[in-house]
Symmetry: C2
Subunit: 422 residues, 2 copies
Amino acid sequence: MAKVNLARGMRDILPSTLRKRRKVIQIIEKVFESFGFEALETPAVERIETLMGKYGDEGNKLIFRILARGKDGEQGKTDLALRYDLTVPLARVAAMNQQLVLPFKRYQIQPVWRADRPQRGRFREFFQCDVDVVGTENILAEAECLTIVHESLVVLGFEAFKIRLNDRKILRAMVEQCGAGEREVAVLVAIDKLDKIGEEGVRKVLLQGEFSIEQVDALFEMLNTGKINGIEAELANLEAIKEMAVAMGVHPDRLVIDFTLARGLDYYTGPVFETIFTDDNIGSISGGGRYDGLIGMFGKKDVPAVGVSLGLERLITIMEERGMLSEDAAVDLWVTVFDADLHKDSLQIAQAFRKSGIRTMVSMRSGKLKKQFKDAHKAGAKWVVVYGSDDKEKGVVLLKNLERGEQYSLPLVEAVQKVLEL
Amino acid sequence: MAKVNLARGMRDILPSTLRKRRKVIQIIEKVFESFGFEALETPAVERIETLMGKYGDEGNKLIFRILARGKDGEQGKTDLALRYDLTVPLARVAAMNQQLVLPFKRYQIQPVWRADRPQRGRFREFFQCDVDVVGTENILAEAECLTIVHESLVVLGFEAFKIRLNDRKILRAMVEQCGAGEREVAVLVAIDKLDKIGEEGVRKVLLQGEFSIEQVDALFEMLNTGKINGIEAELANLEAIKEMAVAMGVHPDRLVIDFTLARGLDYYTGPVFETIFTDDNIGSISGGGRYDGLIGMFGKKDVPAVGVSLGLERLITIMEERGMLSEDAAVDLWVTVFDADLHKDSLQIAQAFRKSGIRTMVSMRSGKLKKQFKDAHKAGAKWVVVYGSDDKEKGVVLLKNLERGEQYSLPLVEAVQKVLEL
């Protein structure tokens, strides 16, 4: 017998877990669709050159590479790779499909694969959940992204969260005004850690990074007072985005303009945003921004775009921890097989319930009724049907409610009605 | 600019196509769930040894292999592979999860990957759609598999199809009785071609394969008359399966016992079945059977199982060809932006519709109303809202139905109601 196991960092999603996940995904999709976003699916497998060089050196190493078929493969050559995120495939789709009507508002909820070190609750295959607006510079796109995040979280049952909003151009102005313009990335990376290591920590990092005390002081002067020159246009832009989002129902206290928000990804060019829980230190549960240069890497012309990603796996983890996901059985009703002669009748009875959308099992083991009731209970069925020759004579079925301990002797049509009612 | 393309044999599923696919999948899932089947998802990536040797030599070659990370990868070593079907992962899950309550009735609709030569309408990534019952020898499992196929096809709108039913043991009896017991597979492979090449064709294949004329005559005597010794038990079994399926609503004319049905896969041990359209030569659109030995390959003990696979991609192709899939726009209602001063009002109006589940877009380009109406029409919206200062004064919105050419001037709440009604 071969040793059998999952691949490292992979998981099966068993039915009871999957039912919960699907409920969360359905809720989120309904919000996305209410804003007119459309679902897109891209293949798991991309050409290796489509992915390489898009995620930095660290990212390149984490891409799963697929061996070429035929002779090239024998020499260890790889030509394909597994999808690493949903943004690069979107950019490829946008560049390849000139017929798309712009602005193209798409959402995508699919797995991605990263050869990261697996940790508790972190897998090498995990779902991303992205919303993007391609083809417009209108800041309503930003406002819709923020509102969708807010609306999704509220509908899922969250209250204590905060959306932070900044603009890459404001960050750049700050960096330039403290005389570190040529080392923007290093400053952004340091600022990005403010949440975790505080001002003192960031100061230390910058000083060790050979920034001067004057530069660091100037930087924190700007971060702490908000006094930065020449950012009037960007600030007005952020205020306008906020106003739109508030008009669409975002709670104003939950949306804050925050000059310390940097976001890691290189490709952002304008507004950036991030969402955190204020009652949980799990980290960012949503992030995004405007990236007007990425699609141009694949196509003939630059196409403006803005998007946001919802941390689906983190959300599900937290909802699970907090008991926000109710258990849902796979079965509503269980038809026992009481009398072998009546087996066909039992099957017909089951069918009547199924036709009404009631999820119905028929016992696959004959034998004592008590055991069949136990099976029904184990499967989570709320209802059990018993049918014997007496019932057949009377033209009824015996319907038992396991939760209430009640039972009803009813003609089949009425029994179906009863289950639908309760 | 990098050349940009899909990987060979892969496809993007753009929104309008995806909406149609999802409708089909939802209908099928509802049928599966009505029988108490539960959804399972397994990872795209499996250990290579889990897959190798399960699909024959031809299959082994078509498996996409993933390069190992680290030093082994530099030497071209592969340790992982992409899922090739849904049955082997199910067998792994069943063997690994002893806590599963048996019978475990699971369905699974996920992509699989095969490095096949791509053809028109055939891709290297495609969805499979499987239903299996693990852990029972009760033939109700077979009957449910057949009924689910029948029910799914009927609900999808198909009428002209036939389910063929046979038993591997009957085939084996035939092969043995014509004295070719040691070459069972070769006979089955030949019989499997009866549909395509007819009796003469199969005779030729067998004679070229060095079976004797006597053997071939004996075989066709049995196939044509149905006179086979010692198959009473199996035949009674098939009749019982048919009776159960008919009790669950399968049309008796659509379910035929047919001794010429062989099915290719090696691992079947009992009843086998296949569905074909009687008005289309696209080939099998569903196939399955009992395989009581497969799970034992992964676990400590044999576990009986039976399953059926629905040819989702073929079904969708045919439904598309026959116009059985209605177009569905992504947007119900379009809110124009008539007056820049009222932009926030427009956003609030949109939100009122969204809260009622109406998929609503707000124009992202300002400008002439005529152009915005054109955008709305292009997006497939049935409704357009216009809101100007006059409307604001009157406390109404102007709601236009693009299909009927009607318009209504109504307070917002009533306008939402109107859209929900129609």
